[in-house]
């Protein structure tokens, strides 16, 4: 990230923190809250999300938020956030959201500023560990490394809820704006992973985006606890330029030492997500199907000579099923998540074409403000493993295990 942009963002985050504290005495209708979440990750093979093979505590999230109602139907909401997830986040505070909201009626409201981006059940609350039973959200559908451009956007949204005949109801949220892509974030990691097993000294020269539009609809058919959702989100004019150098020991000596440049200009992405959630008594069930397609014009060159474009528009699909039950302060959850074999393997072994995860989660609400969680994942495939830092150079093992623990304090 450019230093002055980084400084500006840090300054904005600090200013917001200051504002959040300073507004404490302004009104009875000010509400301040937050959470601190610390965790541990360890895997039997590979480094997933962080350096998990040796076990890591680089798994932290913290937020401070405030909501103030200065006038009727008008609220000002802000949250400063920081996180650490292996090479991502680095404890740098930033503005997660900061927007003004006018709720004209139940059917129509508007938000403007930095707003949360809604897609499916968890995109807008992906950082909030206490909002769910599991520690890690189903991969392929939700990836915490992508939060820099998936969690928020600078723009506006309109939202509301309409009553339909009988006991049915339809909720909508339409949004548009600009998303910020972190050059050290997950999209950069994904991009560099594609070349990092062929070239060395890989880095992102440019990563930028223009606009993001999206819609999320929830339909409640009148059955207690049941809702069905459809969301679509489209990104336009995403530019990613990456560089790498072929090492001297490459099998083809003609390539040794040559620079590899990959340019994806004006790329667009379209994401679709179908969701269903049902709760009854102490049971909670959810399932989601996610698909995304990319329209990519890829220009690549080796040593200054253009090579034919691959001309491929990859699409990704992922889905999961989840069930949980609460027993007093305890909650136990089971999840099956799969990113199927929908993309031909390249560069690596066949393991990289899929990832299937069977997951068991245990949550214990020790007090009103303190939650503890344990989780085990039995995983097949390596589809979601990155290698931009050389953390997963060889993908020879198909089955592996991931353990996670987390403690969250809210206030």
């Amino acid at each position: 990230m450019l230093p002055h942009i980084k400084e500006a963002k840090r300054g904005l985050a600090h200013a917001t923190l200051l504002c959040l504290f300073c507004t404490c005495g302004l009104s009875q209708t000010l509400s301040v809250g937050g959470f601190i979440s610390t965790g541990y990750l360890e895997s039997s093979h590979y480094n997933y999300l962080a350096n998990t093979e040796e076990g890591t505590t680089d798994f932290v999230e913290a937020a401070l938020n405030a909501s103030w109602t200065p006038a009727n139907r008008t609220t000002l909401n802000g949250q400063a956030f920081l996180f650490e997830l292996g090479p991502y986040g680095n404890y740098e505070p930033f503005i997660d959201y900061l927007f003004v909201e006018y709720s004209y009626s139940k059917e129509f409201g508007i938000r403007a500023g930095r707003i949360k981006r809604e897609l499916g059940l968890y995109t807008h609350i992906q950082d909030i560990d206490i909002s769910r039973t599991s520690i890690i959200l189903p991969h392929g559908v939700y990836d915490p490394r992508y939060r820099a451009f998936s969690a928020s956007l600078d723009g506006a949204a309109i939202y509301g809820t309409f009553g339909l005949p009988g006991r049915q109801r339809l909720t909508y949220n339409l949004y548009g704006g600009h998303v910020n892509i972190d050059p050290e974030g997950g999209l950069a990691g994904f991009t560099l992973t594609a070349t990092s097993r062929l070239t060395i000294d890989n880095h992102i020269e440019t990563i930028d985006s223009n606009t993001n539009f999206g819609a999320q609809f929830w339909y409640s058919p009148g059955i207690e606890g049941l809702r069905l959702g459809y969301g679509r989100s489209e990104y336009y004019d995403v530019d990613i330029v990456s560089h790498g150098t072929f090492p001297s020991n490459i099998p083809d000596p003609n390539l040794a030492g040559l620079e590899f440049i990959s340019k994806a200009i004006d790329t667009s992405f379209a994401l679709d997500q179908f969701s269903i959630e049902y709760y009854v008594g102490n049971w909670n069930f959810a399932a989601e199907y996610h698909s995304s397609t990319a329209d990519i014009t890829l220009e690549q060159s080796i040593g200054g000579i253009s090579i034919p474009s691959r001309g491929r528009n990859p699409d990704f699909r992922a889905w999961y099923l989840q069930g949980s039950r609460r027993f007093g302060p305890f909650e136990i959850g089971l999840t099956y998540a799969e990113e199927p074999n929908n993309w031909e393997p390249e560069f690596d072994t066949v393991n990289a074409s899929h990832q299937k995860d069977r997951q068991i989660s245990l949550r214990y609400d020790a007090t009103d403000n303190w939650t503890l969680k344990l989780e085990a994942h039995s995983i097949r495939g390596t589809r979601r493993l990155f290698n931009q830092h050389g953390q997963n150079p060889v993908l020879g093992q198909d089955s592996w295990t991931l353990w996670a623990a987390k403690s969250t304090i809210t206030f």
């Binding site: 509400s31 809250g33 909501s67 009727n72 109801r169 909720t171 009148g222 606890g225 809702r227 009103d368």
Partner: protein, 163 residues
């Protein structure tokens, strides 16, 4: 002849049944509002408030929800009106509050603090248990929503909110 012979007992039975139904309905509405709040509410409206769909009253005041902690009666009432268990209710509001879409319900350890909160905030709404309603809230200047049965326009809204 036969008709007139049965008319009086039938009318008496119907009157008793109506009184019983009204009594049950009145005693089963442990919802407390600030007296300044003149909104007519029914169960459907209460459900919309407790699920975060309605965030402002008709007069524009912000809805502020207050609940009693560790009180089985209050939890039962909350379950009835929100359609959620107390843990689900808390989880639901954490999702809302931490994404900037509403304020967490205030939790109180005792009735006095809760009533003081409702008295102080025009947009406050509290869920109390039957015992609290009889013993505490009725002695305060608060508006007890014992008229839901009269305003009820239909079955309660059972659908979850779209947050």
């Amino acid at each position: 002849m036969t008709e007139s012979r049965y008319r009086a007992p039938l009318q008496t039975a119907l009157t008793i049944a109506l009184l019983l139904i009204t009594s049950v309905a009145l005693s089963a509405d442990p919802i407390v509002l600030n007296p300044e709040n003149q909104t007519n509410v029914d169960e459907k409206y209460i459900r919309s408030i407790l699920t975060g769909t309605e965030r402002f009253w008709e007069d524009g005041n912000e809805v502020l929800i207050a609940v009693l902690k560790n009180d089985p009666e209050a939890e039962q009432a909350l379950n009835r009106y929100s359609g959620m268990t107390s843990s689900k209710f808390k989880n639901h509001w954490q999702r809302i509050a931490f994404s900037g879409r509403g304020k967490m319900p205030k939790q109180f350890n005792n009735l006095e603090e809760l009533i003081e909160f409702v008295n102080r905030n025009p947009g406050a709404i509290a869920i109390v248990g039957e015992g609290q309603k009889r013993n505490g809230a009725t002695n305060s200047p608060l508006t007890l929503i014992s008229t839901i049965a009269h305003h009820a326009s239909g079955p309660s809204d059972p659908t979850p909110p779209g947050h």
